[in-house]
């Protein structure tokens, strides 16, 4: 197997793994945050504005790791530097 095939195969595999595992953690975290927020809104409906705002901030924080893996997966598939390097060198 040549270098190009190996790099292409591994990039796709890595992108899939990156997105899958990267979605797992934030999904669990956001679920826990939302559950806690819902519980506290049910207990204190008057504070729902403050709770919702804090929930948005924490969701954004939790979500950023998922977004990082999305960006890495996009780079691996569409703008892979190793792939470009291998293609350039194979061409001569």
């Amino acid at each position: 197997m040549g270098a190009i095939e190996l790099i292409g195969m591994m990039s796709v595999l890595a992108a899939g793994l990156c997105m899958g595992l990267g979605a797992l953690g934030p999904a669990i975290g956001e679920g826990m945050a939302a559950a806690a927020a819902l519980r506290s809104i049910a207990q204190q409906p008057d504070e729902s504005g403050t709770i919702t705002r804090t929930l948005f901030v924490s969701m954004a924080m939790i979500e950023s790791t998922g977004i990082y893996s999305l960006v890495i997966a996009i780079i691996l598939i569409f703008a892979n530097p190793f792939w470009d390097y291998a293609v350039k060198h194979a061409a001569g």
């Binding site: 403050t50 705002r53 804090t54 948005f56 924490s58 924080m61 960006v71």
Partner: protein, 246 residues
């Protein structure tokens, strides 16, 4: 595959190129400035006001109230900066339902520029309320050993701000492309409708985080002790939380 508006080059001069990001940013700036000019030219304080004036009043009043709730201070100093960020991002995300429009926020250059603005605004607003010494001493809290982590946190949250907006808007565009190949006609429309929701939430989150970052360096001054007490504690809590998560 072209997925970033940076890659749609319209004019290439050799020393620089006009791509879709710049073009649509200019378009938006024109829309916002001309629109506000047209609306504010005929302001009235009658009983009946025009609907456009009503729209602007709701928007500006709503943002001012949110800022006051978060910081517990008078919103005037922060209103121009935060509201500009919010309205610009909101418009750029909402216009993505228009055919042939590429949201400039789907480009990392735009979002980095916005995040850098926030990065610069934090010391600007911080120094407007406290002295240089007391501002710099914040980096030494709680102990001197936290100095590198505080600096790192400052940088990484700027990066996170840029990448979050970029990733969210870009992922909407890419999902639209992919679904167009699999289930054309119906699902892309539904995803576009979802994009309106996430676009609005992202604009809100960006402005909110910018405000929280600025509020975390402000010296707390109370305006109305009775009503602002809670929100002040809350703003402090939020900023502490964000510092810890970074």
């Amino acid at each position: 595959m072209k997925f970033s508006p940076d890659q749609f080059v319209i004019i290439d001069w050799g020393w620089g190129q006009l791509n879709a990001t710049i073009l649509f940013t200019w378009f938006e700036m024109l829309l916002l400035v001309a629109g506000s000019r047209l609306i504010t030219r005929r302001l009235s304080n009658d009983v009946t006001i025009s609907r456009w004036q009503n729209l602007l009043e709701i928007l500006v009043g709503g943002i001012a109230r949110q800022i006051e709730e978060i910081t517990g201070q008078k919103p005037e100093p922060f209103l121009p900066f935060i509201a500009t960020l919010f309205i610009f991002i909101l418009l750029s995300n909402l216009l993505s339902v228009v055919p042939f429009y590429q949201p400039p926020t789907a480009s990392l250059s735009t979002t980095s520029a916005l995040a850098l603005c926030v990065f610069m605004a934090v010391p600007f607003y911080g120094l407007s309320t406290r002295s240089l010494g007391s501002y710099l001493r914040q980096y030494l809290e709680p102990t001197v050993f936290m100095l590198p982590f505080n600096i790192l946190g400052e940088l990484s949250r700027t990066l996170a701000l840029a990448v979050r907006l970029y990733g969210n808007v870009l992922s909407g565009t890419i999902i639209g492309f992919v679904l167009l190949l699999i289930v054309p006609f119906f699902l892309p429309v539904a995803m576009d409708a979802l994009g309106l929701l996430t676009g609005t939430i992202q604009a809100y989150i960006f402005a909110l985080l910018a405000m929280v970052y600025i509020a975390s360096v402000l010296k707390i001054e109370e305006i109305e002790p009775s009503s602002s007490r809670n929100t002040e504690m809350n703003a402090k809590k939020i900023s502490q939380q964000t510092r810890q998560t970074q």
